[in-house]
Symmetry: C2
DNA sequence: ACCTGAACACCGTTCAAGT
DNA sequence: ACCTGAACACCGTTCAAGT
């Protein structure tokens, strides 16, 4: 049933996802869904839960490798179901969909990194926020209907004549076009941002490392 | 007209936002809206554009201070209109709502930091993704109707008897409850995550600094 | 335990017609 | 240039009734 919902989402996208379409797929009356699930939101939360089910890394890893695996696994999960990308941010904040085991694992790893107390909370929130940030945007859907029209609009906007007052943009245009947020006309499913994601993970882990080092240095004094 | 749309959004939230309700507020037929705007999505994109209009920092700042101001300004803008939080991620990826002037400014600043070529693109994407990540989640709406019920559910989930197998979580519970993603029952409007956001910005800027330093060191060799 | 069937109160959007 | 008015093809959800 939520497997069917996930199929529906993958096949037709979030915009077209409805209880009624799901019922059609199942060959059942729309109202039958409500015996299995409390509401549309509840249903989608369960779908998200299934998508993220096996994203938790092994705890034997060093905290840096653990985080790297977490970011990679999360991105891979969304890559398999890009239509769910916008849901995850919305549902992660609400607690459902995520088990406390995952929370415990992350807190443990950040503890090993040297964070404790209020700083542990801050590091935890930092990781969760960063985890969702890049991927949500990378796989955000492009309006499907006028895809070609939109592509043309972005291209026109980036045509060299328009860019007279934006020298840095103009100079780097070939590298930026369709490979940078705001300047893209395809989502991450068609045009993945692999290298940017790698650097993003480097930045987050590197930043945490520096924070941890400084706390350690302060303790030694 | 899009001012009225913003008011409607602020007053009743995104879930209740509809062309028809906006028309009611304006004392006009729903279909009249379509003379001013192409679609509901288009309307919301314009609303987002207005919200983010004055978020660009002065370019005289050092790149670190520029980024700090950018993150702070963005958060302040969303704090004023939290109902728009989920829209921004969706619309930033699509180019509308954001001027090329902002893109040029950010690229310039990252150039000053020492990034160039493909690494400039990666740094740019990192900043945009990070910019949206935290705030989108912090201000994501809590289901309004069953607010009390949900709060109770989270509390029950975090009751000490449930936490026997999660020692780190249990030990830090007072610091985590309602102050950490997944473990909250209020959104950032009611329970802001100020300290976590500060650390988050530290991590992103610190991570970028380290990346820039290493590139500089490699060039010197 | 699980589904049907009717009904309610909504949506976004198109298009012709008015002023 | 800007709005009315009718219409179309949808929604999520409730509730009583069936099996």
């Amino acid at each position: 049933m939520i497997a069917a919902a996930l199929d529906e989402l993958d096949d037709h996208g979030l915009a077209a996802f409805s209880i009624r379409n799901l019922a059609r797929r199942l060959g059942v009356y729309p109202t039958a869904i409500y015996w299995h699930v409390e509401s549309r939101d509840d249903l989608l939360a369960e779908v998200v839960a299934r998508i993220l089910a096996d994203a938790e890394p092994r705890r034997a890893l060093s905290w840096q490798r653990y985080l790297r695996a977490l970011f990679g696994g999360y991105r891979a999960a969304i890559k398999r179901h890009p239509s769910a990308a916008p849901l995850v941010g919305a549902h992660l904040v609400g607690n459902r969909s995520i088990g406390l085991g995952f929370v415990e694992g992350l807190l443990t790893k950040l503890g090993e990194a040297g964070f404790a107390g209020a700083e542990l909370v801050a590091a935890y929130n930092t990781v969760i926020a960063a985890l969702v940030g890049f991927v949500t945007q990378e796989f955000a859907a492009v309006p499907d209907d006028d895809r070609e029209r939109w592509r043309a609009a972005v291209r026109r906007r980036l045509s060299r004549s328009q860019l007279a007052s934006y020298p840095v943009l103009r100079r780097n245009l070939p590298l930026l076009a369709n490979k940078a947020f705001i300047l893209r006309w395809q989502s991450g499913s068609q045009a993945p941002l692999d290298r940017s994601f790698e650097r993003y993970v480097d930045v987050v882990i590197g930043g945490l490392e520096r924070l941890a080092d400084r706390r350690a240095a302060r303790r030694r004094r």
